[in-house]
Amino acid sequence: MTKSDSDMIDALFAQARTQSPAVSDDLMVRVLADAADMLVHPVVAPKPALWPTFMELIGGWPSVGGLAMAGVAGIWVGVAPPASVTTWAADLIGSPVSIDLLSDTSDYFAEGLLDG
């Protein structure tokens, strides 16, 4: 940027800064009409509905399908677990063991209650 170019730009800026157009009556009327109209008809942001918000949160209908499939599969596994699941569970947590903590005393308590 030569001094001559810089001078030209500075002169152009200085001249452009002098542009201060008067506000026309028409523009003033339009702006104040907008202001009055906005008081009468304020723009209210619509409150987001719960269901669309939920759907957006989980990712839409494809996610709903996936959730439904997972739910049905879970119920099915609970009702009729495949053998492999039982085996896997046993390997993981061991075979279920029942311990009867009251086996020796239950008769005693039962008798006591019956004898009054």
């Binding site: 940027m1 170019d5 030209m8 730009i9 152009l12 800026f13 800064r17 026309s24 702006v31 907008d34």
Partner: protein, 194 residues
């Protein structure tokens, strides 16, 4: 009514805006008389087109009325907010010019501007506006706020919500870019004779 208008005369801009939001149109009148000339001047200097500048000014004020109920006095000054909104609206308009060849931009007919000097001025302002349209938008905003509106760097940082260092960089690069765009038109714009 005159008394009411008078009572608002010395009120801060934000107080006027909040009073308007409560339904006081006198406050809106005082605020409009105060800020509209500055908004119109900013838009005119950036766009060099009276009709477009008026549309932008109306749009900027419309946005101010919309935001009035939610205005928080401690967040920003009304003038800073208006500088930002007006600059953004003007940038939107300038962006649309990019796809239009310079030769196809029609000069607005204005019978009063017949004197050679006025035509020269008009050509210079249009050239400046068209050059702003060709620049990166942030540079164009920073340059116009600095050199057309005369804002200080801290004020520009507030308006554009950027750091002082970014303002300095944008204005310096912007001015170089503007010079590069316009240097080939020096003779055409009559600067060889000045």
């Amino acid at each position: 009514m005159t008394t009411q208008l008078g009572s608002w005369r010395d009120a801060p801009d934000a107080a006027l805006l909040l009073a308007y939001a409560q339904g006081d149109m006198d406050a809106a009148r005082v605020l409009t008389a105060r800020v509209l000339p500055r908004v119109l001047a900013q838009a005119t200097r950036m766009l060099s087109d009276r009709a477009e500048a008026e549309d932008v000014s109306q749009d900027a004020l419309m946005r101010l009325w919309k935001i009035a109920p939610d205005w928080r006095q401690d967040e920003a000054q009304v003038t800073t907010w208006l500088y930002r909104v007006t600059a953004n609206l003007c940038t939107d308009r300038l962006r649309k010019r990019r796809n239009v060849p310079l030769d196809e931009i029609a000069e607005p007919a204005d019978p009063q501007r017949s004197a050679p000097g006025q035509l020269q001025d008009k050509a210079r302002f249009s050239a400046l506006s068209d050059a702003l349209a060709q620049m990166p938008e942030r540079q164009a905003q920073a340059v116009s706020l600095r050199h057309l509106e005369g804002l200080s760097n801290p004020e520009i940082a507030d308006v554009m919500n950027i750091s002082l260092r970014s303002v300095e960089s944008l204005t310096a690069r912007g001015k170089r870019a503007l010079t590069g765009i316009l240097q080939g038109r020096k003779a055409e714009l009559g600067y060889d004779d000045d």
